[in-house]
């Protein structure tokens, strides 16, 4: 039997399903960071606002990377529906702590896809995700460093404004 389905697609459907969920997650992250940029701007943290603008763009690039991989692999990428974007934060510390939680959730999700693709013998998907695994280490590290800087600076007096200025060090 000629393998028409295999000729049509280079990856396993299970991997495709999980990558479509990941597309949605990256889009959700992008929208969340845009909401954070809005919060920072409205609360006078203009450098942090810039930082989150850039993060939002990066997350969209992540989404497109997966989207294009699915196209290259002959799969069917789904344009995601995004709802439930939080715009309320108690403080700038709350913003960055939520960011770290968000990045950790993304890391876990990527790792789950790596393990699943390995389980179904989908080497192409597993290798494709190498870049994302390393990217997540960097993302988590950046936010951790910012949280460390925040705890060293302290939030008393001019601390908050100093924190915002320092965030500029993490904008490339």
């Amino acid at each position: 039997m000629k393998d028409i389905a295999r000729q049509g697609m280079s990856i396993k459907v299970e991997s495709m399903d999980m990558l479509n969920i990941q597309i949605k997650m990256e889009a959700h992250a992008s929208a969340t960071y845009l909401a954070m940029a809005s919060w920072c701007d409205q609360n006078g943290f203009f450098t942090s606002a810039k930082f989150f603008h850039k993060q939002a763009e990066e997350e969209r690039e992540h989404m497109m990377k997966i989207f294009n991989f699915l196209i290259d692999a002959g799969g069917s990428p789904i344009s995601p529906e995004i709802t439930n974007i939080n715009h309320d934060y108690a403080s700038i510390v709350d913003v960055f702590e939520s960011t770290l939680d968000h990045e950790i959730a993304v890391t876990k999700s990527i790792h789950a896809i790596v393990l699943k693709s390995r389980e179904v013998g989908d080497i192409a998907t597993e290798r494709f995700l190498d870049w994302f695994v390393m990217e997540q280490v960097e993302e988590e590290n950046t936010i951790r460093d910012i949280l460390d800087m925040i705890s060293v600076t302290g939030t008393e007096g001019v601390g908050l404004q100093m924190i915002d200025d320092h965030v500029g060090n993490w904008i490339e």
Partner: protein, 106 residues
């Protein structure tokens, strides 16, 4: 034409010459390219069967299914939806692009 998988109500075939698939829905047979088969899979597997048991979410227990870029329209009841999910999951395993575990779960 080669039979890939038969469920209780439906059957999936592959045509080597035409490089496409046929799905026998009983009252009509639908021709689908591989991409259309992927789209059909997406639609069928994303049907929330739990909604069929909630009179607020799905009052009559029917599902409208549009296939092949709006070329076909089917109205399926709960049994037919479950059977079609079965056909899709097992069919893709037979086609060699889905892991065999899914067949046990289905």
């Amino acid at each position: 034409m080669k039979a890939i998988y038969k469920s209780q109500f439906y059957a999936l075939f592959q045509s080597q010459q035409e490089r496409c698939f046929y799905i026998d829905f009983g009252q009509k047979t639908v021709r689908a390219s591989f991409c259309q088969l992927l789209a059909l899979r997406q639609k069928v597997l994303s049907i929330e069967i739990e909604d069929h048991f909630d009179s607020d979410l799905n009052q009559h227990g029917f599902e409208l299914l549009q296939l092949c870029n709006k070329e076909h329209l089917f109205i399926l009841n709960t049994h037919e939806v479950l059977d079609l999910k079965q056909l899709i999951q097992n069919g893709f395993v037979q086609l060699g692009i889905s892991s065999t575990e899914e067949i046990l779960m289905a």
